[in-house]
């Protein structure tokens, strides 16, 4: 059935998914997982939890397909589900952190909860943010680009990179922070050009 289906057409995938095709829904997951993951990872630091929550988001979406009426784009609808899933998780974590007296984690939970709550009024499907980020990554100077590639995409740790470069781990952390600041400014500029929210 999937062979006859246009796997790039969200409408068609949605229609088939509503009829119970898990293959079609897999097509939707394929198209939207990067956006959902990216959205969740903004608020959830634990990478394994991001995976779990992304799975929860899609499972909830699959079971609620009948309630989706197309009033917003499918991406925004999925982000809405992800937002609720993330909010519950972050609140729960913040409560645990208070008990565990981890001051910074508890405060972070509080700040992130506020940020997610504010997010409700400006849900977008985040595709433009990711595209802007990809373009901004290409514009990084070579040294920064290598650092990002090694740290984020090759899974090297700050300790390993510090050893290789003969630097302190904190210096690598600071370099990464500065690169992210550059990327943040670049994304904002690009988004402003297109009139979208970051």
């Amino acid at each position: 059935m999937l062979k006859e289906m246009n796997v790039d057409d969200p409408e068609e995938l949605l229609e088939q998914s509503r009829r119970g095709s898990t293959q079609a829904f897999a097509g939707i997951v394929r198209q939207y997982q990067s956006r959902i993951r990216a959205y969740l990872a903004r608020y959830v630091r634990d990478r394994d939890a991001v995976e779990d929550l992304a799975q929860d988001t899609f499972l909830l979406a699959y079971r609620s397909l009948s309630s989706y009426r197309g009033e917003s784009s499918l991406g925004v609808w999925l982000i809405g589900i992800a937002r609720n899933v993330a909010l519950m998780h972050v609140r729960d974590q913040a409560r645990r952190r208070v008990r565990e007296t981890e001051v910074l984690q508890a405060a972070l939970g509080r700040w992130l909860t506020e940020a997610i709550e504010l997010d409700a009024s400006r849900l977008t499907d985040r595709d433009q943010t990711l595209r802007a980020l990809e373009l901004c990554l290409q514009e990084l100077p070579e040294h920064s680009s290598t650092l990002v590639e090694n740290y984020y995409f090759k899974g090297r740790t700050a300790i390993e990179m510090a050893r290789e470069q003969g630097k302190k781990e904190s210096a690598i952390g600071m370099m990464l922070l500065r690169i992210r600041e550059i990327l943040g400014r670049c994304i904002r500029t690009r988004m402003a050009e297109t009139g979208a929210h970051a």
Partner: protein, 600 residues
């Protein structure tokens, strides 16, 4: 605290460093007092998360889709199955004498139906119903157990001697409802291979045990059979009841569990897993790092799910297929009871499929398709299939294999969780747990060795001076050395392999399962000042330009490294720095390498 100091602390926190409580408090106070800076740093944190998420999608996006599809398909199948059973039940209404329906069969939701089995009586239900059901099931078991095999399983004209006598509390005319099938304990007693000790203690003692007459027992048994076998029950007397009992799978029980292990039940109810819980097929078990759980299946097979894992039993064994389990990520160890040859147990991961008839294995799955799945076989033989390219291989006891993207599926010798590689001449007396390396080229049968021939080409312009002062041309490669003639000397520290002079380096390798290891290395010539020694393991420089004095060695202990490509690589020598030893030598003398596997 200045803005720069705050950013520095924040960057350390994001890089995973554990800040002191004082530093944490200072940072929180500073950010609470400066909303603009806080917003900027939160944006930075969010970007950190997005970049990690992009990486995760690139690395295992397809595995994520497969896992999810798998999950949805299993859910679909379960729903279809339940609908089918429900329709069967509806086709066969209870006998006219049955009590009025409580309306439960009208509910279509799967989970609700299953939950109702153990729920408290609904309003309108009378107290004797459970007693009747329990009595019927109890009698059925007793009859099955006590009736000789050659005879019909139906109760005979005389009661079995072991039937206890208690007061009858159930009207004999009231049959049990269809949905009230015998509880799992009944089935377990009849399934061969069930381990009784692992079955949670039955709570039947709390239920009043009614005693019935022979006539009552016969009637109740027949009614019970009618009720639980609505349409499939053949007309013959002996076959139907035992056949159902024998094929019903025994439940999977949690034998041991740490604190942070969760099970996802029903829709998205994630609850903590407890000892003695029954794990239904299709439910996912997630373990937090450093938390584990051990499951015991009805046939005695056990599975130990390691920390940071996600595991699910896809299907229980049936008359035509074996048990199927799925490890989405993490590690597991399992001892599998001998399986029927036509119904092997199948372990599936996003990258591999292991088909097993009975053995002890260890399975490790990473989220990276390039690292894939590692299978360690302790006993027996296992067929491992790489789902990414369709190739398969048999992995024998004492071997492991990695099924990963772009990797050859070649079984390799396994050396256990702790290996001491002793470098030195071939006649070194080794101790248990040591493997000896004399500088020879890598041999897959031996399972370790060096890249390139032991004696390489002459290196133009390089010479070396032996103990008698004679000068020799220098060759690439390695040679073994013994530093003392004292037979009582510790061979661990008085023998070594010399390799990698000037800008020449030599690489040693050993295929080992992917995972985290602690590496300890010892370098040096105990008889003489030597060096500078250089050692890299998996790209991490463990020894950097160290020179040993006579009588001393350079030892670095327990450096964590991660093996991601199924092979541990150690490079020695090369990279001459400004340091020189007394005689100007540049080679590295490696005494031993200790490899310890780290379990999560």
């Amino acid at each position: 605290m200045s803005s720069e100091e705050i950013r520095e602390l924040w960057s350390r926190f994001l890089a995973g460093e554990e800040l002191s409580p004082e530093a944490q408090k200072s940072l929180v106070d500073a950010l609470d007092g400066d909303p603009e800076l806080r917003e900027s740093l939160l944006e930075n944190l969010q970007l950190d998360g997005i970049l990690h998420a992009m990486s995760a999608t690139r690395r295992h996006g397809e595995a994520f889709v497969r896992t999810l599809s798998d999950c949805l398909s299993a859910e679909h199948d379960a729903t279809r199955f339940v609908r089918k059973v429900e329709s069967r039940l509806n086709e066969n209404p209870p006998p006219p004498s049955a009590p009025p329906s409580t309306g439960r069969r009208n509910k279509s939701d799967t989970t609700r139906i299953f939950r109702r089995r153990s729920a408290a009586p609904a309003p309108g239900e009378t107290a004797w119903k459970p007693a009747l059901i329990a009595a019927a099931a109890f009698i059925a078991i007793l009859l099955l157990v006590t009736t000789p095999v050659k005879e019909s399983r139906r109760p005979g004209p005389k009661p079995a001697p072991s039937v206890p006598q208690v007061v009858q509390t159930t009207p004999p005319s009231a049959p049990p409802e269809k949905r009230e099938t015998p509880p799992p304990q009944v089935v377990k007693q009849e399934v061969p291979g069930t381990t009784p000790a692992l079955v949670p203690a039955p709570k039947r003692e709390e239920t009043p045990k009614p005693v019935v007459t022979d006539e009552d027992r016969r009637k109740t048994d027949e009614e019970l059979k009618k009720s639980i076998l609505p349409s499939r029950t053949p007309k013959t007397e002996a076959a139907p009841f035992p056949s159902v009992v024998a094929t019903a799978p025994a439940p999977t029980i949690v034998e041991r569990v740490d604190a942070n292990v969760y099970i996802t039940k029903g829709k998205s109810d994630k609850v903590r897993l407890n000892k003695d819980d029954v794990v239904p097929v299709g439910n996912t078990i997630d373990t937090y790092p450093a938390n584990a759980a051990r499951l015991r299946f009805g046939d005695g097979t056990w599975i130990e799910i390691g920390g940071g894992s996600s595991f699910r039993e896809i299907s229980a064994p049936t008359a035509t297929s074996g048990r199927k389990v799925f490890l989405a990520s993490g590690t597991l160890e399992s001892q599998i009871t001998k399986q029927s040859p036509d119904r092997p147990m199948v372990f599936t991961t996003p990258t591999a499929e292991a088909t097993i008839l009975g053995t002890t294995i260890r399975l490790t799955v990473t989220n990276d398709p390039k690292s894939g799945t590692t299978l360690d076989v302790k006993e027996g033989r296992v067929r491992l299939k790489n789902l990414l390219d369709g190739k398969s291989a048999e992995v024998a006891a004492g071997h492991f294999a990695v099924a990963a993207a772009g990797a050859d599926l070649v079984p390799q010798k396994s050396f256990g969780d702790e290996i001491l590689v002793k470098f030195g001449p071939a006649d070194v007396q080794t101790k248990p747990g040591w493997v000896l390396d004399s500088g020879d080229e890598f041999d897959p049968k031996r399972g370790y060795g060096w890249k390139g021939p032991k004696e390489g080409e002459l290196i133009p312009g390089l010479t070396w001076r032996d103990g008698q002062g004679k000068i020799w041309p220098k060759r690439a490669g390695r040679f073994a050395a013994r530093r003392t003639t004292d037979p009582a000397a510790d061979p661990l520290k008085t023998t070594d392999i010399v390799a990698g002079w000037a800008n020449q380096s030599e690489t040693w390798k050993m295929p080992i399962p992917n995972g985290r290891y602690l590496i300890s290395v010892c370098c040096g010539d105990i008889s003489y000042e030597q060096g500078p020694h250089h050692v890299w393991v998996e790209g991490i420089q463990i020894i950097d330009q160290k020179i040993n004095k006579a009588g001393q060695l350079v030892e670095v202990l327990n450096v964590p490294v991660e093996v991601k490509d199924g092979e541990l690589n150690m490079t020695v020598g090369g990279n001459p720095g400004p340091k020189k030893s007394a005689d100007g030598s540049t080679d590295t003398c490696i005494n031993y390498l200790l490899i310890k596997r780290v379990r999560k």
